[in-house]
Symmetry: C2
Subunit: 405 residues, 2 copies
């Protein structure tokens, strides 16, 4: 058997595995409980409307008349319709049922969607960036060689305080460009005008945009686009990945969805091909859909009652984010994000690297962040803090951090 | 954007989609209810021990102390341990927790595992075969061109009545060989000696075996191996994919697992590499694990009480299979399988092709089977019937079939 050389050559560990490793190694000697503002995992229990729907669906599965076998590959129509009604109709975005693909997680789809493209598709990402985008493409051999901390065939668009975290357009052609807004890890957003510039670029160059909107529930200003399809023409150039993980606390429940408009087409060998049809074919042969009780739970999160309950949870996290921003800025630190996103992107004071500052906070403050450099070279000198802990822990963590600066 | 030419060029529809299309087109004019013995989907409700565990876990997720965020990538240790204790220890197979990968379905893993290998890995399959193995590899460009109904770079091992459905060893080298036993679609099994021959071949040639044991719960004779790891040395050459779908009625609940022993290694550039470590790296970047309530439900299927309940369900399906075999043989027909598998592989009497016989049964008997030719060229002239319907429907379907022969 000849192994996949790209998988064998993958550098280091996945970022969060390395963070977990350092925390585990230190934990036994910590003088007080460690507070985790590192991994972006939610902490509040599932809302009552959601658990009730999941319990009822589980009970249904135990009855002859309520049992459900293989789900539809693309998801149950009841969930596809709920997604359209709750997440798109209010934005004036019109979708049909078969433009919605229900899936077990946004990571599953953001890492698999490049398989729509040629094996040597050129990939573009902002930097810093969610590492799974890069790792999945590297394993598939699309990124070339890893030299000096960079991939030879990857186009990166740096985002730093110096450019206000607004990426430039790619300087060389790419087949597919990942855009994640509200952004993980920086917590920053693009205005409607800034996002329109990318849509026009994609239209002009025939580039596919993968828009990751996993954090759209955290947008507090309706002027900021929640969906790329709010931009006219985006349905011809963009797929959009969304998740119940951060909006409804589904990190342990697992449900998400991807939109592939039927207007999205590309030419090959003189024919025009629908990416929606290609993805449907791929989905039918690679998986068997999402669990019925989980789809019922997701639909409940989109019901009027469920939406009120999960909005209250999101507000709790955003109160934490706003407290972090205010406290750190009050101490004279430079912070970004935290307004339309559950992530605060802290510019590390002094000369410490991201990992040095991570270790400093872990050992001196017993607070876990995520080193910005783990998200890319442009993240060096930053630390990501998440708003997903309790209000009390968040406040204490901030006090501890300020005490050791 | 340059599309994946292999995905664009995929021939026809996925087999079961075409079956569903023909049934839907005919259904409005059917003179009586159609009985479906086509797709391999279970029909009995989840067992009480399973629904109870799922309900309790869903309720847990609604409490601060019982909430679970991101699951471990590879699965919860409680489920990994239950799998080892219930499915392997009784066979004398010893596994460690991190050799068990919990996943949402065997299709997900059987279609993704070739990514461990080089992009041009040579694939071997038996024929007839579960079509998803072929489609997934074809989309990834591993099978060459599709000409005259065959893939130019795919090695096929024909299984027909003439060779007693026991495949020959591959005549040319392959990197990976799919073996599914009890077999889908033929329902046949390999004896310990026959399976040993493949393990020795894989050891001698450095071939990776992907052993799909999704139907192992249907084996009625302990002399037939339920796991390839019952064969000495198989842990150095084989991964094994199993599923709760057919053993515990999880087609709509979604849980499965893959075993990758740490003894399974391959050499590349002079170094020995663990496939377990490679897959762990891949899993960490491509998905976020399986839902907590679903993993609890799966563990409940492996509890002593759950095992008794699901064994009774399996017995019900096997009673159907035995009835089908006895009835068809009694009518002088040639049938295979149905003894250690929920599938009966009927040799079509007369000169009809598989699709012609499918249409004949649909229109004259209002019974749905699956055309053998949809599983490969060696399946031409056969029809697959499943045992997953009710006893009453199965009996009526058989009466109808005999009446139109």
């Amino acid at each position: 058997m000849r192994l996949n050389p790209h998988l064998v050559a993958m550098p280091g560990d996945y970022l969060f595995a390395e963070v977990a490793r350092r925390v585990q190694a230190y934990a036994p000697s910590a003088p007080r409980p460690i507070i985790r503002l590192g991994i972006g995992d939610v902490t509040q229990p599932l809302a009552p409307a959601i658990t009730q729907a999941m319990v009822e669906a589980a009970q249904e599965m135990g009855t002859p008349e309520g049992f459900h076998g293989y789900p539809p590959d693309q998801g149950y129509p009841f969930l596809q319709q709920a997604i359209i009604d709750a997440d798109y109709a209010p934005l004036g975005v019109r979708l049909e049922l078969d433009e919605v693909f229900v899936t077990d997680g946004a990571k599953t789809d953001t890492s698999a969607l490049p398989e729509l493209l040629a094996a040597d598709a050129r990939i573009g990402v902002t930097d810093p960036v969610y590492p799974a985008y890069i790792d999945a493409n590297a394993m598939a051999g699309r990124l070339g060689r890893h030299e000096g901390g960079a991939w030879s065939a990857l186009t990166i668009l740096p985002c730093r305080a110096e450019n206000d975290f607004v990426p430039e357009l790619p300087a060389q052609p790419v087949d597919m460009l990942y855009l994640c807004y509200p952004n993980n890890p920086t917590g920053t957003v693009l205005t409607r005008e800034q996002l329109t510039r990318f849509v026009r670029y994609a239209q002009d160059t025939g580039t596919l945009i993968l828009f990751d909107a996993a954090y759209k529930a955290y947008i507090t200003d309706p002027a900021i686009p929640r969906s790329i399809y709010e931009i006219e023409g985006a349905d011809q150039v963009a797929v959009e990945c969304c998740s119940f993980s951060k909006s409804a606390g589904f990190t342990g429940t697992r449900c998400a969805y991807t939109i592939i408009p039927k207007a999205l087409k590309a030419r090959i060998d003189g024919q025009s091909v629908s990416l929606n049809a290609l993805w449907r074919r791929r989905v039918a042969c690679r998986q068997n859909g999402v669990s019925y009780p989980i789809q019922r739970a997701a639909a409940a999160a989109l019901s009027p009652q469920g939406q009120r309950q999960v909005a209250a949870q999101v507000q709790t996290y955003m109160d934490n984010a706003h407290h972090m921003v205010a406290t750190l800025q009050g101490a004279g630190l430079q912070v970004f994000g935290g307004v339309h996103a559950p992530y605060v992107w802290l510019r590390i004071p002094g000369q410490r690297s991201s990992w040095e500052f991570f270790d400093h906070l872990l050992h001196q403050a017993q607070v876990v962040g995520t080193p910005g450099s783990g998200f890319g070279q442009a993240g060096e000198g930053y630390l990501r803090l998440t708003a997903f802990n309790t209000a009390a822990n968040t406040r204490e963590a901030l006090e501890r951090v300020l005490a050791v600066l």
